[in-house]
Symmetry: C2
Subunit: 239 residues, 2 copies
C-alpha cells in the first residue's frame, strides 16, 4: 500500500456521476414514458436540462433563499419547470412522481459494483452525496451498491461544497478528516474537500455528460490519486 493510502481508513463517494450514470438512466426512463404517450422527446436533452437545474437549486438552499429541502423536492421543482418545453406537461401527477423517482433508480457504471466490493475489503466505504438519505438508500438497494453506511448532506442540513459536509462525514465515522478520502469525478468537489483536509481521489467519468464533452482539467499532483474507474482505484490503493 502506498504512503498516501496507508493513512486512509475510509472512502467517501460522491454519487451522481461518480457512482451512477444519471444521464443515461434518466434518459432511458423519460424515453420509455414518452413512448407510452406517443410523445417524441429528446431524452438526453431532457436529462441535461433536469440536471442543469440542480446546482442552482441547491445554491438557493445554500444561500438561505430557500429553507432546507431534500433533493427529491428540488428535483420535483425543476421537473415541473421543464416539462412544458419537452411536451411532457400532460403527464399525470403520479407519472410525474414516478419520473421524479428515476433518481432513486440510477444505474451504476459497469465497474462500480465490482470496484466497490474490492474497496470494501480494505476500507469503510460510504456515500457522501447531496442526494437525500432515502434516495441513496433506495438507490443502493436497487443497484446493489455495497455501502457500509449511507451518509447524505441531509444529515448535516448543508449541501456540498459546504465544509460541514466534509467534516460531518469524518465526525460520523469517528476519524480524523485526514484519514477519509473523497472519491469523485468532479474536481470542484475534490478541491473543496482537500481544502478541509480530506484526502482526494479523482475518478474519471468521461461519459457523464455525453461522449463529446471533454474531461475537466486537473493539475498533475493536485489529488492524491487519479483513477480510470473504481477497479483501477482499488488496484492502486492495494498496491
Amino acid at each position: 500500500m502506498s504512503h498516501a493510502a496507508s493513512a486512509v481508513k475510509a472512502l467517501a463517494f460522491d454519487v451522481f456521476g461518480t457512482v451512477v450514470d444519471w444521464r443515461g438512466s434518466v434518459a432511458r426512463e423519460v424515453a420509455a414514458l414518452a413512448r407510452q404517450h406517443h410523445i417524441e422527446v429528446d431524452a438526453l436533452a431532457f436529462a441535461d436540462a433536469w440536471r442543469a437545474g440542480y446546482a442552482p437549486a441547491m445554491d438557493r438552499v445554500r444561500t438561505g433563499e430557500l429553507p432546507w429541502m431534500h433533493i427529491d423536492t428540488l428535483h420535483h421543482m425543476i421537473l415541473d419547470s421543464i416539462v412544458s418545453q419537452f411536451g411532457l406537461q400532460g403527464l399525470s401527477d403520479s407519472e410525474r412522481e414516478h419520473l421524479n423517482k428515476a433518481w432513486h433508480r440510477l444505474a451504476p457504471w459497469p465497474d462500480t459494483v465490482a470496484g466497490l466490493n474490492a474497496l470494501k475489503k480494505q476500507f469503510t466505504i460510504t456515500t457522501l452525496s447531496n442526494g437525500n438519505f432515502s434516495l441513496l438508500t433506495a438507490m443502493a438497494k436497487n443497484a446493489g451498491l455495497p455501502w457500509d453506511c449511507i451518509v447524505s448532506a441531509e444529515l448535516f442540513k448543508h449541501y456540498k461544497p459546504d465544509p460541514e459536509t466534509y467534516h460531518g462525514v469524518a465526525s460520523l465515522l469517528n476519524l480524523p478528516i485526514g484519514q477519509v478520502m473523497l472519491c469523485a469525478s468532479h474536481p470542484s468537489d475534490l478541491r473543496a474537500a482537500k481544502t478541509q483536509g480530506m484526502r482526494t481521489a479523482y475518478v474519471m467519468r468521461p461519459f457523464e455528460f455525453g461522449e463529446h464533452v471533454p474531461l475537466p482539467k486537473v493539475e498533475t499532483g493536485e489529488f492524491d490519486f487519479v483513477a480510470q474507474d473504481f477497479v483501477d482505484l482499488a488496484r492502486q490503493l492495494a498496491a
Copy 2:
C-alpha cells in the same frame, strides 16, 4: 402478507440484545484479556456490570446533566469505573481502548444474518440504536449484517426512548411513521415507539441477560408481531 404487515415499508432494529449478543461477546473478550494477564475474572459478571451502567449514563445525557456524548465515550466512562472491582485496573490505556471497542465486535445471534437477509428482500432494513454511527458501521462490517443503511441516535442527538429518535428514523426514510416497524427485544423501547405511532415487533431473546433471567412480561396483542427470532419474523411478515 397480513394486514398489519402490508402497510409496513421499513424495519428499524434495536441492536444491543436484539441483533447481537453483547453479554456473551463482552464476556469472551474480557476473559481472553484476563487470561493474558493471569487474572481471574468473572467475565459474565463483568459484562453485566458494564451493561448496568449504560442506561443510567444515557439518562444523564437525556436529562442534560451531561452534554451529548457517544456511546463509545459513555462505555469508556463506565469501564473506567468498574475495572478495579474486577481486578483489571492494571490494563494499559491501549488495552482498555481495545476492550472498549469490544462493543464494535459483538457477535450476532445464530438467526440474525439469515433472518436479516430474508427480511431485506421485502423491506428496507435499518438500525435504530443508541450505539454511535461508527460503532454500528464497524459492527455491521465485522459481523456481516446486511443493513440497507445505518441510523443511530447520534444523528438526532437524542437517545431512545426520546420521541425524536422514532420520528427521526421515519423522516430519514421519508416514510410516515406508521409505515416503519421497530423490531426489538425490549418492551420499553417498543412501547415508546408505539406511543409515537410506529408499528412494533417484539423479538424474544431469552438469553440476552443469561439463562436464568425470565423474559419480560408483555400483554397479548400489545405489539403487532411477536417472534421467536428473525427467521420467524421473516416468515410471519411474508405470510
